[in-house]
Point group: C2
Chain length 426, copies 2
């Protein structure tokens, strides 16, 4: 008998019919002899509806009250799921974050879990019930309701699994696992059976959207084994866990790409001591994020500063850059929104020199120009022109031996569809 | 500085605009120097929407999960109201039944309040906040969410006022007070300045719909002064409180009528010992309510049994009556759905004999036939033909000196409108 935590996202419980499907899945697991805890998000677009309601009374709602409001979304989906399970003949109980004892700090809208008190869940499991837990929410020590912010339900699931010392934490979504890269861009993408926490974190940070980083970090910290699975099929998914060092690590496990950033270059900045600190200090003060930074070699006491930043931060950034050009005596700034950050990730890089050189060679052979480079111990990221993404991903996928025998013909995107997808990503 | 609890029903917070209006009212009170606690119901038709959602997954939802679901309605309205107050420049905090410490028994869907722990509210009031409390909900000692059933929000308001020893409990709705009778039926109806708990209870039990009986009972028990007021004007309303015996009580304070019941007569029942117990025991076992009961004098060992019952219970009652006629050897049963129960209520009846005689005389003079009579120490109820309601109410209203100088001309209902209203009341 295993103890399993199953997390279902908003899409999986968007309609009463889908709620009933989730109920059937949980009951099948329970009848097969497992102890089952389910963590659910709010149904479909509920959270958006609640946000709109708040906006109808104020532009600047207090975050404590926003959490009071938003937490109702999961309370609705979990009680309806418990009703569906009951109607199908199994005992069930739904529990709020407060009832479960998910204690967080008091940073409303993006609270961090401090503690899980698993007593109530254990009691209900011992009573042969399927236990439904509200994702995304917790409660402060003072009893105020908090929400965990983006990706919060994944984090709830992992935290509950950690608190219960569950055998595994299954995260259900509309994809059936972690792929070497996006099958829509690379038809020979291969589903991974296993990936290490470390690699998953680098892939997630580089634009692969399956799992939220916070949840993976939490899982790594507490040694929770995650399985990413499809909510609509019974295929086994991908395990995310500590990978034994004795095993041969793949040199490259996956290729991620991210088109949500723009490249900004400030031309001919007078090269004085502390200039970078001044530029990036000003940008940070305006709450604009900066990712990759490159400073070119100084020529005649002038230098170029290049960095990437989320496209959504550009409206705030432009007036700051205008002023900065004037104050610094720089020539101009150039913004390129058509770039893509391409990353290869693999735990085996640590012990295999020459991976970066090989990556650059493959790109050069295919006439893909690199404009920025950053690396970590298990990741190499380059900035390239967005139009070359598909070619670059496919060639690197083949070169690093990731190609599957199976080809995703049906899901292959045309050039236009790819452009549409990338537009949407922004 | 007074401590005031203000309750707003679902209609008063049905839209963001109305929520903002309620916020302005509360702020005006707060700025005038009062400590303000607001109790709110769910916005408009939210509860109906949630019930429909539950019905989409099951016909028979577990009541614990229904309460988990329904309690989100108030959580939404109270957080949005707190946001509106904040946006208008006052500090505010919303609290769930659990956070307030409204402890109930574990009878889900119609829980009874056992205890209120006012510490959290007091703390927030001391911090100069307007405190919003979720109506209709509480929490069991084990931490499960309950709802209080019909009229629950009024009860919450009174209970919170009792727990805080508030100066008064203001119940806001779309009517501006308690009237001697329904102004739509009797244009000379007069708004009462004061009414006793006892009279209010009898009027509520007899069909006057302004206040829920549970809330009035609670208020009487704890000595909470209620003021029924309009959510849309600033006119003073009606106080419901203990009326000092030294004051001259009105002989008749109000006239109520109720068209939600039908009259059932079982003809020629063999008159044996225990026959009434058998008939009404069988009806009670089917969960059909019975109000007034009359057994006629026995003739030739046969008797007629007449009683009134809610029209909504008739579908369950008919098959039981069919079977009963057979088993008892009675002749037949007759159902009359066109009746109205008319009641006059007044604390002064206790010390004024002859009120019943006067009522019957007024009805006789106006050719209104009485088919059933019941009385309590401060109430006399008669069953009459529904078509005669308007005439009977108006004549009694005048005869007992209740007429106002002001005439509600605009709201007077035509015969057709009255029929429509009565239809709706069912």
């Amino acid at each position: 008998m295993a103890l399993v935590v199953c997390k279902f996202g908003g899409t999986s419980v968007a309609t009463p019919e889908r709620v009933i499907n989730v109920a059937k899945r949980l009951i099948a697991k329970h009848r097969a002899g497992d102890q089952v805890v389910a963590v659910v998000s709010a149904m479909g677009k509920t959270t958006d509806d609640l946000l709109r309601l708040a906006q109808a009374v104020t532009d600047d709602p207090p975050s404590r009250e926003m959490d009071m409001l938003l937490s109702t979304g999961e309370q609705v989906s979990m009680s309806v799921l418990a009703m569906a399970i009951d109607a199908l003949g199994c005992k069930s109980v739904s529990l709020t974050g407060g009832q479960v004892g998910i204690v967080t700090d008091a940073v409303f809208r993006k609270a961090k879990i401090r503690e899980i008190k698993p007593d109530r869940i254990r009691m209900e499991l011992a009573d042969d019930k399927i236990v439904i837990v509200a994702g995304f929410q917790g409660v402060t020590r003072a009893g105020d309701i908090t929400t965990l912010g983006r990706g919060g339900s994944d984090t709830t699931a992992v935290a509950v699994a950690a608190g219960l010392k569950a055998d595994r934490c299954e995260i259900y979504s509309d994809v059936d696992g972690i792929y070497t890269t996006d099958p829509r861009v690379c038809p020979r993408a291969r589903k991974l059976d296993v990936i290490s926490y470390e690699e998953m974190l680098e892939l997630a940070a580089s634009g692969a959207g399956v799992l939220q980083m916070r949840a993976v970090e939490f899982a790594r910290h507490f040694g929770v084994v995650i399985e990413c699975r499809s909510a609509f099929t019974d295929e086994p998914g991908t395990l995310v866990k500590e990978v034994n060092d004795k095993m041969e690590s793949a040199v490259v496990s996956g290729i991620a790409f991210d088109n949500s950033e723009a490249k900004v270059t400030i031309r001919d900045v007078p090269d004085r001591v502390g200039i970078a600190a001044r530029v990036f200090g000003t940008i940070a003060a305006a709450m604009c994020n900066v990712d990759m930074i490159v400073q070119n070699i100084s020529e005649d006491h002038y230098t170029d500063l290049t960095f990437t930043t989320p496209i959504q931060d550009l409206p705030r950034l432009r007036p700051i850059l205008d002023e900065m050009i004037e104050n610094l005596g720089a020539r101009e700034y150039i913004i390129d929104e058509s770039i893509v950050k391409l990353s290869i990730v693999g735990a085996g890089m640590k012990s295999n020199p020459g991976i970066a050189a090989k990556m650059f060679q493959v790109l050069a052979d295919n006439e893909v120009n690199i404009s920025l480079i950053t690396t970590s111990s298990i990741r190499i990221s380059v900035v390239i022109d967005g139009d070359q993404t598909q070619k670059a991903v496919q060639k690197l996928h083949t070169a690093f031996g990731l190609d599957s025998d199976k080809v995703f013909e049906e899901t292959q995107l045309s050039g236009e569809e790819l452009a549409a997808k990338m537009e949407k990503g922004r």
